[in-house]
Assembly symmetry: C2
Homo-oligomer: 205 residues x 2
């Protein structure tokens, strides 16, 4: 693209460096910004500078937090013996929203993905192993996506933790609530059949 | 959403204030940023602050330009008697890419849209009328989108300019090059038939 202004070109390049935003959408967004109040766009820019310079991670669970130790880790009502292992704070927020989990979290900060050059040392694996070896952990719940990367990470963590004596579980994989069986893919349906459980345990709470 | 950090919440709110970006995508983008180099995200934020504080518009055509008068308006090879009226610099860049137009531009900076509260005084209509009245303009080419807002703006401009003696044209509306006729909507096909032209004039250049 042949931009009439370096400033616009620069802003477009920055926006289109984000995943899922192309040059054309970025230009549309930049023109939208130019119609806003100067003050608002200054705040827009400042919010990312503040973010990257002041971001803090909880020393215990590695989730993003404004405090040294996040609200969940410092809450005495949470059960510290049960750890929910998640990829990032998006999953953590989703699990929190269910209000079904009363334990604490461990945020890996990514998934093992050889294709993207992300190995076990790039995410918080050692920290989890240490926690299990030193602590009073009773159960680890793998709460990772059902993708190749999620499965790889699950398998790696399982191998590292299986001799620790801690109970290792994975969230159930099966048919989503509300799904119609005839449209379910066969791998999910097959998994759901082989993972069947007593009817009285299968009711959603 | 219940964010574990004010900084993240603020950045997510800023990103999701842009059209077409929801809270969930914004959070995904923010987490992506947190994996980047600090330096890059500082540049990201600064690019928008620079943009909004230093943006300049060409005094003649109102396109965005780093110069007082943009490169096109100050180019002696461009035909100053033919003015292409466009909504914004995206359309101007698209027309420039065709290399079919040797005149100059007039950037309206928007389209008349009563639904969004945008009237003729919110865009550069008076400036175009003045240009036509004072200048040596011979032809005005309406190059606006074929939407309700584009048609409204075309009609308003036509009413304001029709007594000026200047030739007023609109870009041709018809079948896109490469389109298959059986999939063309009936309004486009109808317009293309009623706007038919001698075969020898219809060949694409």
């Amino acid at each position: 693209m042949n931009f009439p202004s370096k400033l616009v070109e620069n802003a477009v390049n920055q926006l289109s460096s984000l995943p899922g935003i192309g040059k054309k959408s970025a230009l549309r967004l930049v023109l939208h910004m130019l119609k806003q109040e100067k003050h608002n766009i200054n705040q827009f820019g400042t919010s990312f500078i503040d973010l990257i310079n002041n971001i803090n991670y909880c020393k215990e669970c590695f989730s993003i937090s404004d405090l040294e130790i996040c609200k969940i880790c410092s809450d005495p009502k949470r059960d510290r013996r049960t750890i929910c292992v998640v990829e990032d704070i998006r999953v953590m927020m989703a699990v929190e929203n269910t209000q079904q989990f009363k334990g604490i979290y461990h945020v890996l900060g990514g998934l093992i993905s050889p294709m993207d050059g992300i190995g076990p040392t790039d995410i918080k694996v050692e920290e989890l192993v240490e926690k299990v070896e030193n602590g009073k952990v009773q159960e680890i719940i793998f709460t990772l996506s059902t993708t190749m990367e999620g499965d790889t990470t699950n398998f790696y963590l399982f191998r590292r933790l299986k001799d620790s004596g801690v109970k290792i579980s994975s969230i159930a994989r099966g048919i989503s609530i509300g799904d119609e069986l005839e449209y379910t893919d066969e791998i999910t349906l097959g998994t759901a059949i082989s993972s069947r459980l007593p009817y009285e345990n299968s009711l959603s709470k």
